[in-house]
């Protein structure tokens, strides 16, 4: 791009003026108060527009500064420039009533929509901030090294984000989204865990019930054994009673034996005693026997009746015992059945638990989370890769320019991670504040030119310098001008010193002479 002409209708102290520029280095010499800075500001206002700010800040606003006092409605101008081998004319009226912008392509003879996006296209993609941070260098420069470093840092980082993507914001967005999903996934898992816990509790309950049932059956079988024992004991007791009955028979045997013995005795002594006596004795014996017989018989009957009663009673008791046992073993069976049922249930539940534990993997969500993580990592990697490339390229460019304009005094400059400018003198690694003010200015200049070159390689915007070489010594100024002379771009250099013009003449002489 090349600025061809400025036509100033009314802007600051200028009125109906027109200035033409040629390609290459233009030096605009003027003493103080001649309006160099006004011209400088005019170019910026023409390219990017200018609006009146409201409120307190308006006092020192550029707009107010340049507003004509007597004829405000003529607060206007035109800039003619060449871009992409076509000549354009951009006219603006800044006055509050008649604010307007017109864009006209002289080559095609066509009026164009004067929106800022279109204008930006013609300016090789520069917006106002990028323009002011690179090729448009104003007089007002930083006072101290730290301010300067801040400014460099500022515009490098700002430059990166200007019109670009806000990497930090994108990363935050991705992280938030991922964390939200992870929270959701965790909730799902918690829910699943809760379900599993519930199943487990049910399982434990079942197991406890089973335990209980088992204990009950144990107790009952113990009882059953006891009962059975008691019954067998009881039955043994009954057997004892029968034995006693057999004893009675023994008694009878004794009586019979006694009778036989008595009979035998009687036969033996019958020779000595009278028959009658024996007969009487026998009769008595008979009576005694009869009596005994009857007595025993009745006693026996009584006893028998008694034992029958007891037997009946015993039988009843036995039956009752048996019944109880039966009942108990019936109960036992029911319990066993219940245990089997519960065991089946437990096993079914275990199976369910296993299924539950293996299920619920939400693949889609996992993929999404993984994807977000990949996106985050990739963006971080790519942006730091770009940053590395950016600083590498930029460092190289800055060093090149600086090396040229300091005639090799400083060959290597780089920006560290914190965007601090470091100067490598091959002996020391210097910070910006460790070099002279003049060198600092030169470094600043080199950084600006490098950034402009680095990002807008397609077409070069004119470099517009408002008296920025004040602190340069003659030698370095000459080299800087030489660099500009060779930079193959349009330069508008505003200065209040004659030395630039003389030095340029020398350079031209030297270069053409070679």
């Amino acid at each position: 791009m090349e600025i061809k002409e400025l036509q100033i209708k009314h802007f600051g102290k200028f009125q109906n003026e027109s200035i033409r520029f040629h390609g290459g280095l233009n030096i605009l010499y003027g003493e103080n108060e001649m309006g160099k800075t006004t011209l400088h500001a005019f170019i910026r206002a023409m390219l990017f527009g200018m609006e009146k700010e409201r409120g307190k800040a308006s006092k020192n606003n550029e707009y107010v500064l340049r507003e004509p006092w007597d004829n405000p409605s003529y607060y206007a101008g035109t800039i003619r420039f060449e871009s992409g081998e076509k000549i354009y004319r951009l006219s603006r009226n800044f006055s509050e009533e008649g604010q307007s912008t017109e864009l006209f392509c002289e080559t095609d003879g066509m009026e164009l929509e004067p929106d800022q996006a279109k204008i930006r296209e013609l300016l090789d993609g520069f917006n106002e901030a990028a323009f002011c941070n690179t090729v448009f260098v104003s007089q007002r420069s930083s006072e101290t090294a730290s301010e300067l470093a801040d400014e460099i840092r500022n515009f490098v980082t700002n430059y990166q984000e200007e019109g670009q993507f806000n990497v930090k914001e994108a990363l935050t967005h991705l992280r938030d989204k991922r964390q939200e999903l992870e929270r959701k996934r965790k909730n799902n898992q918690d829910e699943k865990k809760e379900n599993i816990k519930k199943t487990k509790t049910r399982l434990r309950e079942l197991e406890r019930e089973l335990e209980d049932l088992r204990r009950q059956t144990n107790e009952q079988s113990q009882q059953l054994i006891q009962k059975k024992e008691r019954r067998s004991q009881f039955m043994q007791n009954c057997g004892d009673a029968e034995e006693r009955k057999q004893k009675n028979i023994g008694l009878w045997m004794i009586v019979v034996l006694v009778q036989i013995a008595a009979g035998a005795g009687a036969i033996l002594i019958s020779q000595y005693l009278s028959v009658w006596f024996i007969a009487v004795i026998a009769a008595i014996d008979l009576i005694v026997l009869m009596f005994l017989f009857f007595h025993i018989q009745t006693k026996k009957q009584r006893l028998e009746k008694k034992s029958q009663d007891r037997l009946r009673k015993e039988e009843q008791i036995l039956k009752k015992m048996e019944l109880e046992e039966e009942k108990l073993s019936g109960k036992q069976e029911i319990l066993q059945e219940e245990i089997r049922e519960k065991m089946m249930q437990t096993e079914n539940l275990r199976e369910m638990l296993e299924e539950e534990e293996n299920s619920f993997q939400n693949k889609k969500m996992d993929q999404k989370i993984e994807g977000l993580q990949i996106a985050e990592n990739t963006i971080r990697d790519l942006s730091s890769e770009m940053y590395r490339e950016f600083s590498k390229g930029l460092n190289k460019k800055v060093s090149e320019i600086l090396s040229m304009i300091t005639r090799g005094r400083y060959r290597k400059v780089f920006l560290d991670e914190k965007m601090n400018v470091r100067i490598d003198t091959e002996e020391h690694l210097l910070y910006l504040y460790q070099v002279s003010r003049g060198t600092m200015d030169q470094i600043y200049f080199a950084v600006r030119m490098a950034v402009g070159d680095f990002f807008f390689q397609e077409e070069k915007l004119p470099v517009i310098l408002d008296d920025v070489f004040v602190m340069y010594d003659e030698r370095r100024l000459k080299e800087t001008l030489r660099w500009l002379y060779h930079s193959n771009r349009q330069v508008l250099l505003f200065t209040c010193h004659k030395r630039e013009r003389e030095l340029l003449r020398e350079i031209v002489h030297e270069e053409e002479g070679i």
Partner: protein
């Protein structure tokens, strides 16, 4: 002779665990079976074939008792059942211990055996699972005795791990009808010969469409006619939504609401969103669940970025590099996700 053929009732299952209707469905499946027995009674069915997986897990004794009392209500119907891989005959299985009603015949052998019903002049062959998986083709060599009656094979499985079957051998085996279970969807195995009745009620979200039983009629000459009768009142249905570049979240909700209303609120829906979408549009999937029983909702749309145009516009900047980073080779699902999400996030900051 009239027969009904069912399978895979899965009594005791709680479908869709974690969803609010899970317990209700568990009860509904029992009720559905009760009602089905009522239907068997009404239709005076001679033979009820249950081709496995009557229960979802090992049946409890009280469950068996309950089922048996239902079977006892239809004494004129002969009921033949086999155990499938879900309710397989474990050594302690209640199937084996239980004294069934006289009209119930549990085919509890490991090999195929037949039962002859003289009054129906029909012989039913079958076997039961004793393990969860059987990979031997137990049905392949089976053919019925040639005794002039109607031959039915009651079979369960048909895939690799559950008694694989050879269709050709089955077609030549000589059975007049093969009543199959295991597959939950009604379908023929061999036309006019062998059928999966499908589950009586759908059990999980993959059991799409109608479910019911097979009704078969065999006339005196042995000619058979079979029909599928839908029985389940609820179905799992896929609700397809196709999105395009002008499709919004509200459009999605309208379509879902309308689709569910049109096809019936009682059903369970799987909503699948396909097609493309504007990258700016994000679907509120959770919000769609309020329109009915939504068992699944999946957004499978791809945002339409014009990658070529984006590449052209962005050249070597971050977006350009980002797109190029994902351009070599096939992408995994996660990487696709990453591509879209990353571009979305970056472009969002520029807007």
């Amino acid at each position: 002779m009239k027969f009904f053929h069912i399978s895979d009732v899965h009594l005791g299952v709680s479908p869709d665990p974690g969803f609010p209707w899970s317990d209700l469905r568990c009860r509904e499946i029992w009720q559905s079976f009760e009602a089905f027995i009522q239907k068997v009674s009404e239709k005076q069915v001679d033979l009820l074939l249950i081709a496995g997986d009557l229960f979802h897990r090992q049946p409890l004794m009280r469950e068996i008792k309950e089922i048996n009392s239902l079977f006892a209500l239809i004494p004129k119907t002969k009921i033949v059942l086999i155990a499938g891989e879900h309710d397989y005959l474990r050594s302690d299985s209640c199937y084996l211990k239980f004294q069934w009603s006289p009209n119930v015949f549990v085919m509890n052998t490991k090999e195929c055996r037949g039962i002859y019903f003289p009054d129906l002049n029909t012989e039913v062959y079958g076997l039961s699972y004793y393990e969860k998986e059987i990979s031997e083709p137990l049905y392949d060599g089976i053919s019925p005795q040639n005794n002039g009656c109607f031959h039915i094979l009651l079979a369960h499985g048909g895939d690799e791990k559950h008694i694989p079957i050879d269709r050709r051998k089955m077609a030549q085996s000589g059975f007049h009808y093969v009543a199959m279970g295991h597959c939950h969807k009604f379908q023929p195995v061999i036309d006019y010969h062998a059928y999966y009745s499908g589950a009586l009620e759908p059990i999980e979200k993959t059991d799409l469409g109608p479910h019911g039983y097979i009704e078969g009629d065999v006339d005196e000459y042995g000619r058979m006619r079979i029909r599928f009768i839908p029985w389940a009142k609820r179905e799992y249905l896929i609700l397809s939504v196709t999105s395009n570049e002008r499709f919004t979240d509200q459009n999605l909700k309208d379509q879902v609401a309308e689709g569910i209303k049109k096809r019936g609120k009682q059903h369970f829906y799987r909503i699948l969103i396909d097609g493309v979408r504007d990258p700016m549009v994000h679907f509120d999937l959770e919000g769609c669940k309020k329109f009915g029983n939504v068992v699944e909702i999946m957004d499978r749309t791809t945002p339409i970025y014009n990658f070529r145009k984006l590449l052209l516009q962005n050249g070597d900047n971050l977006i350009g590099r980002y797109i190029r980073h994902f351009q070599n080779g096939a992408l995994t699902e996660a990487e696709k996700e990453a591509l879209y999400e990353g571009i979305d996030a970056l472009l969002d900051t520029k807007r």
